[in-house]
Amino acid sequence: MKKLFGKPESLTTVNHKYCPGCGHGIVHRLIAEVIDELGVREKTIGIAPVGCAVFAYDYWNFDVTEASHGRPPAVATGIKRVLPDRVVFTYQGDGDLAAIGMAETIHAANRGENITVIFINNAIYGMTTGQMAPTSLLGMKTTTTPFGREAKIAGYPIKVSELLVTLEGTTYLARGAVDSAKHVLEAKKAIKKAFEIQLSGKGYSLVEILSQCPPNWKMSVPESLEYVRKEMMTQFPLGVIKDKTGMTV
Amino acid sequence: MREELIIAGFGGQGIMFTGTLLSQAAMMEGKFVTYFPSYGAEVRGGTAHCSVTIADTSIGSPVITHPDSLLILNKPSLGRFGPRLKKGGLLVLNSTLIEDETSIGGGQVVRLPATDIAEKIGQITVANIVALGKYLALRKIVSQESVGQALEVLLAKKKKELIEVNKKALLAGYEYK
C-alpha cells in the first residue's frame, strides 16, 4: 500500500477530539499505517486505555475493546492467549501504564506475552486535566505538584523502558518521539518493527513515544515541542533500549 | 443409621487419608457420606482432623459439632475433641501416644497401642489404619472387606506397594482384644 497522504484504511473518518498539537492523533495514524502496510487489519484487535485516548476505538477501523484504567495488558493477555494468531496491541498513557497499571505492565512483559504495547509518555495525566504522572519531570509544575515535582515528596520520573530491560520476557524496547518529521518517521519504524516481532512470534515488544500535551503543560504548541526536545529527551533518551532479535530497524 | 465421626492426630499421621479411606468404603457400599477436612493454617498448627458422616439417608451439614465417635491418635487432640463427644459415644484412643487415664464422661473408651502394633507390623505409619480397624470392629458401619477394597482404589495409582501392609494393619486393629 503506497498511499502517502491519503487516509489509511485502518483509520475511520471520525474526526478526533484531541487538542491542537497533541501527539495522540499522530501515533494513532502511525499505528494505522503500519497495520495497513503489514496487511493485518482484519486480524488486529486493539485495546484502548482510560486516558485521553479512550475514544481510540472510534478512530481505528478494526476491532477494538476498552479496558479499565491500567488493565490493558491483562485484557490483551486474555485475548492473545485465546486467539494466538491475531495481532493484539495495547495503547496506553503513562498514568494508565506506569501508575495504576504498573503491575499488569511488568507481569505481561515478564511472561513475554506476544503482544505489542504502544506507550504514550506525555509526562502528565491528560484526561483528568493535568495532574502529575509517574513520568512527570522533576521540577515540572502540574495541578498536583503546584510547586514543581520534588523527589522528596513525589519520587522520581520512571524510565519505563529501561525498567523493563532486565526482564527476560521482553524482546524489543524502543523510545521515539513525534516532535518532528524525522522523529515521526523513526517512531513509525519502531512501531512497525514491534508489530513484526509479534507477527513472527518473538514475544513482548513495547514502543514508548514521547508526546506533547500543550494545554496541560500550559504551553503553546511550539513551546511544547521545544520542551519535548530539551527536557523530555534528556530524561528519556531516544533509541532502541533492548533488541533481542538482532533485526535492524 | 447415621454415624458422625471425628478423626484427629498429628499432621503426618495420615488423618486425612483415614477419613477418605472410610468415606470411599462407605460410598462403595452405597451409603451416603460426607468428608470434611481441617485445612489451611489450621493444619500447620501440628494437629489435623477431619469429620466423616455416614448415613442411610442423604446428609445435610458435613460439619460435626458433637460426634458419635472419636478416633484420637495424639494427646493434644484428646483435649480438643474429647469434651465434644456425644453422651454415650465411642472414643478410640492410641494408647502408645496417650498414656494418661483421661476419663470421658459416660462414653465407651477403648484404648489400643496403635503405634506399637504398627511398629510390630513393620510400618509405623499405619497406626492410623490399626486404629481404624479397631473402630470398625466396634462400630460396624462399613465392612472390613469394603475398607480393603477402598485401600486398593486409593493406593492403586501411586502407592501400590503399601496396600498389603495397610490391609495387615486393618486386620490387626480389627482383631485386637
Binding site: 485495546i47 476491532d63 477494538v64 491483562a74 485475548i79 486467539l83 | 470434611f36 445435610g60 460439619v63
Partner: protein, 345 residues
C-alpha cells in the same frame, strides 16, 4: 459410577466439561485447590491457564478472553472478589459473559479462612459501581458444584452478563460421592459481538463509555430490561415439604445444615420445610409470595449477620413473620441451633 470428589475439584472439572476455555486465578485460601486443579487440568486439555499477578489482573484477563469469544472464568475468595468488582462492573457494562467463583470466607478485612456467607450483599446487589446485576448461583452439594458452571456459562451467554457462583470454604473443601455426568458444553446466545478480527465484516468495538447525550441512559434502560427478563424467567430454587407451616430459607452450606434440622424436626412431628434458593439473584421471590398464605413463619438461616433475610422480607412484604438466625465471622450454624430457633417461634 459414583466417586468421591472435593467440592473445589468438582467445580473445576465441571467448568472444564462445560467447555471452559480460559481460567485465570490468584492464590487465596480456601479456594487454592480450585486454582491448583485448573493449573493441571487446563493444560492437559490444552486450554488457557494463567496464574495472574493479582485478582485485578485475573478478572481483566477474563474480560479479554471473553472479548475474544472464550468461555472464561476466574475464582477467588472474599478479599480477592472485592478486588474484582471493578472488572465485573466493566463486564456488565460491556455486556460480556464470564464466570466468577467466590469461595466465601469470614470477613471483614482479612478475616479468617473458614467458610462463610457474608458476601451475599456484594454478590446480589451488584458489588461494584453502577446499576447492574450479575446472575448468582449457589450450589449446595459437590454434585451441584460440578454441574453449576455449565448453567452459569449458559445463562451468562444467553443474557450477556457475568455470572457468579457463590459458594464457601466448607463446600469447596468437603468431599462426598458424586457422578461425573455428561455436561452441556454448547455455547448459547448471540455471538455477533466477539472480537476476532474484522475479516469479512465491519469492525466491532466493545465499550461501556457512553458520553453522547442520552446514550448512557438508553444503555441503562436496555440493561434494566434485560435484568427484568432474567428476574421473570430464571428464578430457581428447591422446596422441601411444600405443606410446612414453618419454612426455613437458606442457601448453600446453611441449606445443608437446615436440611438436617428439617429431618430432625419432622421426626418430632413438627411441620417444618426448607426453601433453598438456587439463584439468589434473581431471588426466588415468586415462590415465597406463593408460600405466604400457608406458611405461619419464615426462618432465614445464614452464615452471616443477616443479609439474604432482607430479600425474604422484601418478598414477604410484612404479610408473614420473618425470623433470622445466623452466625458471622466464619462460624457455622449447627442443626441443633436451628431446632432451638424453630422452638422459639
Amino acid at each position: 459410577m459414583k466417586q468421591l470428589m472435593k467440592g473445589s475439584a468438582a467445580l473445576g472439572e465441571g467448568a472444564i466439561q462445560a467447555g471452559g476455555g480460559a481460567y485465570f486465578g490468584y492464590p487465596i485460601t480456601p479456594q487454592n485447590e480450585l486454582t491448583e486443579y485448573m493449573s493441571r487440568r487446563m493444560l492437559e486439555e490444552r486450554r488457557v491457564f494463567i496464574q495472574a499477578e493479582s485478582e485485578l489482573a485475573a478478572i481483566n484477563m477474563v474480560f479479554g478472553a471473553s472479548v475474544a469469544g472464550a468461555r472464561a472464568m476466574t475464582s477467588s475468595s472474599s478479599p480477592g472478589v472485592s478486588l474484582k468488582q471493578e472488572g465485573i462492573s466493566y463486564m456488565a457494562g460491556c455486556e460480556l459473559p464470564g464466570l466468577i467463583v467466590n469461595v466465601q470466607r469470614g470477613g471483614p478485612g482479612l478475616g479468617n479462612i473458614s467458610g462463610s456467607q457474608a458476601d451475599y450483599f456484594q454478590a446480589v446487589r451488584g458489588g461494584g459501581h453502577g446499576d447492574y446485576q450479575v446472575i448468582v448461583l449457589t450450589p449446595a452439594s459437590v454434585q451441584e458444584m460440578y454441574e453449576m458452571p455449565s448453567m452459569a456459562f449458559s445463562l451468562s451467554e444467553k443474557y450477556r452478563t457475568p455470572a457468579l457462583i457463590l459458594t464457601d470454604g466448607i463446600l469447596a473443601q468437603m468431599q462426598e460421592p458424586m457422578e461425573l455426568v455428561k455436561i452441556n458444553a454448547a455455547r448459547s446466545g448471540d455471538q455477533s459481538w466477539i472480537l476476532d478480527g474484522c475479516k469479512g465484516r465491519a469492525p466491532r468495538k466493545i465499550r461501556s463509555l457512553l458520553m453522547e447525550e442520552g446514550a448512557l441512559e438508553a444503555h441503562n434502560r436496555h440493561l434494566q430490561k434485560k435484568y427484568i427478563e432474567i428476574k421473570n424467567k430464571e428464578q430457581r430454587y428447591q422446596l422441601i415439604n411444600e405443606q410446612a407451616e414453618i419454612m426455613l430459607v437458606a442457601y448453600g452450606v446453611s441449606a445443608r445444615v437446615c436440611y438436617t434440622a428439617v429431618q430432625e424436626a419432622n421426626r418430632k412431628g413438627l411441620k417444618v420445610g426448607l426453601l433453598r434458593p438456587i439463584t439468589v439473584w434473581p431471588f426466588p421471590e415468586k415462590i415465597i409470595q406463593e408460600l405466604v398464605p400457608q406458611v405461619k413463619a419464615f426462618l432465614v438461616i445464614e452464615l452471616s449477620a443477616g443479609q439474604m433475610v432482607e430479600d425474604v422480607n422484601l418478598a414477604v412484604n410484612g404479610k408473614t413473620p420473618v425470623y433470622f438466625y445466623g452466625r458471622a465471622g466464619g462460624a457455622c450454624v449447627t442443626p441443633e441451633e436451628v431446632i432451638k430457633e424453630i422452638g422459639k417461634i
